[in-house]
């Protein structure tokens, strides 16, 4: 058993998530891809915790989950608000904050 494979899987998921963030236009799906990246991080954390037989990594993973949950709550709230304002729910259309 070797955690390198876990790390490879984690890396693969992370890059998939990154590609997804860059490619998708629906902000909901972008958030989902963001979740992917967070979970990849979690997997890596737990792998390293197992490698060093240390419980700290697991705590870290729990806190990451907490943060992810909060972020999802806010992000989804934003999207709902956008929808309510009848603004297009499309990442490419929402670009007034530009230079």
């Amino acid at each position: 058993m070797n955690i390198s494979w876990y790390l490879v899987v984690s890396a693969l998921m992370f890059s998939l998530g990154a590609v997804g963030v860059l490619i998708r236009r629906n902000p909901l799906v972008v958030l989902l891809c963001l979740e992917l990246m967070l979970n990849a991080g979690n997997l890596a954390l737990l792998g390293f915790a197992r490698m060093w037989a240390d419980g700290d990594g697991q705590i870290f993973a729990i806190v990451v989950m907490v943060v992810a949950a909060c972020e999802v709550a806010i992000g989804l709230g934003l999207i709902v608000a956008l929808y309510r304002q009848r603004l297009p729910v499309d990442v490419d259309e929402l670009r007034e904050l530009h230079g």
């Binding site: 693969l12 998530g17 992917l36 997997l43 197992r50």
Partner: protein
């Protein structure tokens, strides 16, 4: 053990690919749920029982349910638009760089990892990964992060309510703000300036960058 790992890993990856590719956002959510459950199983393999169960209960259970509700409310729009309106260049660039990240990480990992392919790893006690262990750590060593995380949750909850609550007094029809144009001949604080004088307002409105400069009007003085 190895077989289970590969099984769960492939399922997780399949779910991940599904999230990225599927058109209908609802299907994406479902794919992510699958991915999360597979990931929880992987956590079990890593002897992190508590985290695995928390993953299923909290993440796949609560967060994804939230997602489902929102997707049901917002939807993907009536006509799910094409996935890619990014230009071909953006598309290729995205894939290239994602690939680059992956390859770099892989090199980093496998460079060291392939040697110890068949080792068992360090010995762990039975209590490793158990709720007792987690609770002990949370409340002894990591008390401060624990409290801060709770505070963060509170903030997020309040924020979510504030974002999606109805504002009193504004009727639904007028919530949609009219398109506000920025007049580059008037700076916000000072007197009228001629166009292309480089005011902040002009910059914000994108004149000269994404929009053509307006013609100088007769009445604005120099």
């Amino acid at each position: 053990m190895g077989f289970l790992f590969f099984l769960f890993a492939i399922v997780a990856l399949a779910g991940a690919v599904g999230v990225v590719i599927l058109r209908n956002p609802f299907y994406c959510v479902l794919a992510l749920v699958v991915h999360l459950i597979a990931l929880a199983l992987l956590f079990l393999l890593l002897e992190a029982q508590f985290v695995a169960v928390a993953q299923v209960v909290v993440y796949a259970g609560a967060v994804m349910v939230l997602y489902v509700f929102v997707v049901a409310y917002v939807g993907g729009g009536d006509r799910p638009g094409p996935l890619w309106r990014a230009t071909a260049r953006q598309r290729t660039l995205a894939i290239v760089f994602g690939l680059a990240v992956f390859i770099e990480l892989a090199i980093a990992i496998l460079g060291t990892g392939l040697k110890a392919l068949d080792t068992d790893g360090p010995k762990v006690t039975v209590a490793y990964g158990s709720p007792a262990e987690i609770g002990d750590l949370l409340l002894n060593r990591f008390l401060l992060p624990f409290e801060l995380a709770s505070f963060l949750l509170l903030l997020a909850a309040v924020g979510a309510v504030a974002l999606s609550g109805r504002r009193a007094g504004i009727p639904e029809d007028e919530i949609h703000a009219p398109e506000r144009t920025v007049d580059p001949t008037h700076d916000l604080v000072s007197s009228p300036m001629p166009p292309s004088a480089g005011s902040m307002a002009e910059g914000v409105a994108g004149y000269g960058v994404t929009r053509p400069l307006p013609a100088p009007s007769e009445e604005s003085p120099g």
